[in-house]
Amino acid sequence: MSGTKQIFLTVNGETHEVSVPPRKLLVDVLRDDLHLTGTHTGCEHGVCGACTILVDGQPARACLSYAVQMEGHELRTIEAMAADGELKPLQRALHEEHGLQCGFCTAGIVMTFEAYLRDNPEPTEDEVRDVLSGNLCRCTGYQNIVSAVLKAASEMREEAQV
């Protein structure tokens, strides 16, 4: 059980060599070994969505896979969003619309919609709610998150037109 495996993980464009036990969850390796603590665990059983990251551009629960499965994949975490200090449209909209309170669920929501809005630039409120239903938030009641996503979508559409 204590044997470790040497792997290469590509996260946010950087490749790291880590030595991890095969059963160590991806989320734990991101947080403990790579010190990327922006990804949170709220349930460790795949329901809450707090641990959502992007694997090859698609949202995935980092609590449901092992780090050793991730070799050869491109991972992106919240730390890659606004790495230059500038908030992205969705982050900005979440701030302006008060779409976060304790912030524990926020990274998972930002990552979920990073992928969704890329592929669906013009979502309806119902569609946003449907996608958001994979992320639990105990603080906000979701209303302001939904309006932030809609606002970000429209800003991104405008930006794309310029």
Binding site: M1, S2, P21, R23, K24, R31, H35, L36, T37, G38, T39, H40, T41, G42, C43, E44, H45, V47, C48, A50, T77, I78, E79, M81, A82, L87, Q91, L94, H95, E96, H98, L100, Q101, C102, G103, F104, C105, T106, A107, V110, V128, R129, D130, L132, S133, G134, N135, L136, C137, R138, C139, T140, G141, Y142, Q143, N144, I145, V146
Partner: protein
């Protein structure tokens, strides 16, 4: 209604300053704090609801590589003292609990041993290898059964499971009954909930042997009381313990008590001389952190033919679970105390029983008095229904009016500056009740079920010391703050609160900015570190704004006085008359206008710190001001919720068509944050009323220990919430602040029940039991069908 007060910074819709770090993954929650060499613990928990511990075998676990040790209740008993709760309250039995159980466990999930290991994976492996020999005991699961004379005793030091029993009567309840046109009886059964902060519990204890000092990193709403508890239970002094609360991923009342697991971790860090940490998993959180709300009520209202309430009686039974981290009457007494809330009722009696059962112990969950408004408003709806009256009219007939204020409730509580009739009219007007009734009738003709609920809430928000004294609970309701203008003119401030995600940093900076006369950008408010913050009572209830904001505001005003005294001297004036600090500049009033004096806060600060010999006589160097403030015994906010639903008779699904709240919470520090609290509270109330439920089977096995079983509402189930804000200031608090944050839960539970019952009324159905799940609605519809109602 009195008009809102005018301010420069209080009440401005500033966006929150904590957002940037949370949005970029730079928040620092407990698990983000790393200490080299920290050991991890995992708890061995009881598979039984009730059992004697015969023996614990840890040999195999200890042999696992990476395991440091396995410890039990006996070890902890040597290092810590038990928690004894024995406030002198009539009818409340004193209770005591050890840090970990020694002889027996009392619920499924009760911690019985702890494994310490190099990492969390190994600790969990080893926990599975610990073998406990059990002697299973019969258990008491339902509160009613637990009161039977032969019920198994949850706590064997008590004569029965009835841990607390109080009754009260004011006025002439019997007389009201005999003079009544009708006595209307109503029942309410609220199920067991749990808090579910998205961040579970956890802690990181760091013992410095050289200094004999414990630093406890723990997400806690109440840093100083937590420090006091830790010190007392570990036999340390308060100089030997520092509590540091990092960012908290939600608390909702679950992060107040010092839990047994946390005390265990602290004791282990000291025993082992190494940092020790614990991260609760979700299963533990759902099963064994704390539960809430399971309460049954019965009311009897003596009424006139036009629906006026002559007298009201309440019988309440709360299922408290197995352990008391709080005096057992703590939550239930508030329900009974404020039940009559928005109504002019003077003959009132209650009988309140709190019962121990073999379930996880209760704790206050956002709105510990959550059931109150459902019980009162449900009673009003029953009256309307039985007498064939319009529910809105029955509310109007009984409502407290402006001319009744200050109004003394039958329990002696004083309502002042509240506006329940005004919020009722605002909500009823906005929802347009007559038009709804027309739509409802049309829908009914098509076989569709529409319902409208109204729920007026009077929310107790800030509990002053007067309340605690009257309640016989040791403790205080005051709060403490300091405001320090640094030599460069920037402002540090601190208060004893600790937010758990509400977003205190911005509104509290606004309170300081207002009192001091600077821009909020100049102010940084420090919270959560007991070595930095003054001793305060922390965050609970709706006290943040009144107690925390109010204290900071008063403290900042006091600092402004000192600044102006120095400025007056610098300007060769006799005193500070006609001076003010505005946006960090000293201004002087000349012929009605405020004019710049050319002196800024930094100039005054420099003199205060670096040139103290130039200060006016009697003024001490520095600009460091502290202050404590004790709010009135109780402050109240009020609101009316209105909700339209449609029930699908085939599936039992409840769809919320419209939801609005007219809320009067006085002066608000920051409307953005307040609106967020209103939405969040309503959401939590609806989620609880419609979906969430802690389920135990008849053997006391917890059946809802994953988030797939304990269902929290998602974005698909919750409505948008319209808010009509009202701001009648409280005349007795600084800046007229009242506080809020829990009333939304009270209103949501009451209003959804009202709306569902309104929709089902034509079928003769009255739902008395939550949650209002599709299954339960279908069961009601089926039984209505059987007794000859329409078939769906």
């Amino acid at each position: 209604m009195t008009d809102a007060l005018e301010f420069s910074h209080i009440g401005k819709a500033l966006p929150r300053r904590e957002d940037f770090r949370f949005l970029t993954g730079q928040g620092r929650y407990l698990d983000d704090i790393k200490l080299p060499g920290a050991l991890h613990v995992a708890f061995v928990r009881s598979p039984h609801a009730h059992a004697r511990i015969k023996a614990i075998h840890a040999g195999e676990a200890c042999a696992l590589s990476g395991v440091v040790g396995v410890f039990t209740g006996r070890d902890l008993a040597q290092w810590t003292t038990p928690l004894r709760l024995a406030p002198p309250i009539e009818g409340l039995h004193p209770v005591e609990m050890t840090t970990l159980p020694v002889d027996k466990v009392r619920f499924h999930g009760d911690p019985v041993a702890v494994v310490v290991a190099r990492d969390r994976y190994i600790a969990e492996d080893a926990a599975e290898l610990v073998e406990v020999e059990w002697d299973a005991l019969p258990c008491a699961i339902d509160a009613v059964d637990a009161l039977a004379p032969d019920a198994p005793l949850v706590d064997e030091t008590l004569p029965s499971n009835l841990v607390s029993h109080q009754s009260f009567s004011a006025g002439d309840v019997a007389g009201a009954r005999s003079g009544a046109a009708r006595v209307v009886e109503s029942r309410f059964d609220l199920h067991r909930h749990t808090h579910v902060p998205m961040e579970t519990r956890g802690c990181l204890a760091d013992w410095d042997g050289g200094q004999s000092h414990l630093t406890m990193h723990i997400g806690t709403q109440v840093p100083h009381p937590m420090r006091g508890q830790l010190a007392a239970r570990l036999g340390l002094s308060e100089t030997q313990v520092t509590v540091i609360s990092p960012d908290i991923g939600g608390g909702f009342g679950q992060k107040i008590a010092l839990y047994r697991e946390e005390l265990t971790v602290a004791a282990l860090a000291r025993h082992l001389g190494r940092p020790v940490r614990w991260r609760e998993d979700r299963m533990e959180n759902l099963m064994a952190a704390s539960h809430a709300r399971e309460t049954r009520c019965l009311t009897r209202a003596a009424v006139t033919a036009d629906g006026r309430v002559l007298g009201l009686e309440l019988e309440l039974t709360e299922d408290f679970g197995a352990y008391c981290f709080y005096p057992a009457n703590y939550m239930a007494r508030v329900i009974a105390m404020i039940l009559t809330g928005p109504y002019r009722i003077s003959n009132y009696a209650f009988d309140v029983k709190v019962v121990l059962t073999n379930k996880c112990g209760n704790g206050p969950m956002r709105a510990p008095m959550a059931i109150t408004s459902w019980v009162m408003e449900g009673t009003i709806d029953s009256i309307a229904r039985e007498l064939g009256l319009d529910p809105l009219e029955v509310r109007r007939v009984n409502a407290i009016r402006a001319s009744d204020l200050p109004f003394t409730m039958p329990t002696g509580e004083i309502l002042e500056d509240v506006t329940p009739l005004e919020t009722l009219e605002a909500a009823a007007g906005a929802i347009d009740v007559p038009t709804f009734r027309t739509r409802q009738a049309e829908a009914k003709a098509e076989g569709r079920l529409l319902g409208l609920g109204l729920c007026t809430v009077v929310e107790s928000t800030t509990y002053g010391s007067g309340f605690y004294k009257a309640a016989g609970i040791p403790g205080s309701g005051h709060e403490a703050a300091w405001v320090r203008i640094e030599p460069s003119g920037v402002v540090n401030a601190s208060v004893g609160l600790m937010g758990s995600g509400q977003g205190y940093e911005t509104p509290l900076a606004q309170a300081v900015a207002e009192g001091l006369g600077v821009s909020p950008d100049q102010v940084r408010v420090h919270m959560g570190n007991t070595d930095v913050a003054p001793y305060g009572m922390g965050s609970r209830g709706g006290r943040g704004a009144t107690a925390g904001g109010g204290t900071l505001y008063l403290c900042a005003q006091k600092a402004q006085e000192k600044i102006l005294t120095i400025a007056a001297h610098m300007l060769n004036l006799n005193d500070m008359q006609g001076l003010r600090l505005h946006e960090g500049e000293v201004e002087r009033q000349l012929t009605g206008d405020w004019q710049s004096t050319g002196i800024g806060l930094a100039d005054v600060a420099r003199r205060a710190y670096l040139d103290p010999l130039s200060l006016p006589s009697g003024v001490k160097p520095g600009l460091d001001v502290s202050l404590t403030y004790d709010p009135p015994p109780m402050t109240y906010s009020n609101a009316t919720h209105a909700c339209e639903v449609e029930i699908d008779p085939e599936t039992g699904m409840i769809r919320i068509q419209r939801y609005l709240v007219a809320e009067d919470c006085g002066t608000v520090l920051n409307p953005v944050v307040v609106r967020g609290q209103q939405q969040g509270a309503v959401a939590m109330g609806l989620s609880g009323a419609l979906f969430e439920q802690v389920v135990y089977d008849e053997n006391g096995q917890n059946q809802s220990a994953t988030l797939a079983d304990y269902m929290v509402a998602t974005a698909c189930e919750l409505p948008n919430i319209e808010i009509i804000p009202m701001h009648t200031p409280n005349g007795r608090t600084p800046a007229g602040i009242k506080g809020m944050a829990e009333g939304g839960i009270m209103g949501a539970i009451g209003v959804i029940a009202g709306a569902v019952n309104d929709a089902l009324a034509p079928l003769g159905i009255s739902v008395e039991k939550m949650p209002l799940s599709p299954q339960s609605i279908r069961a009601h519809l089926r039984s209505a069908e059987k007794s000859g109602g329409p078939k769906f």
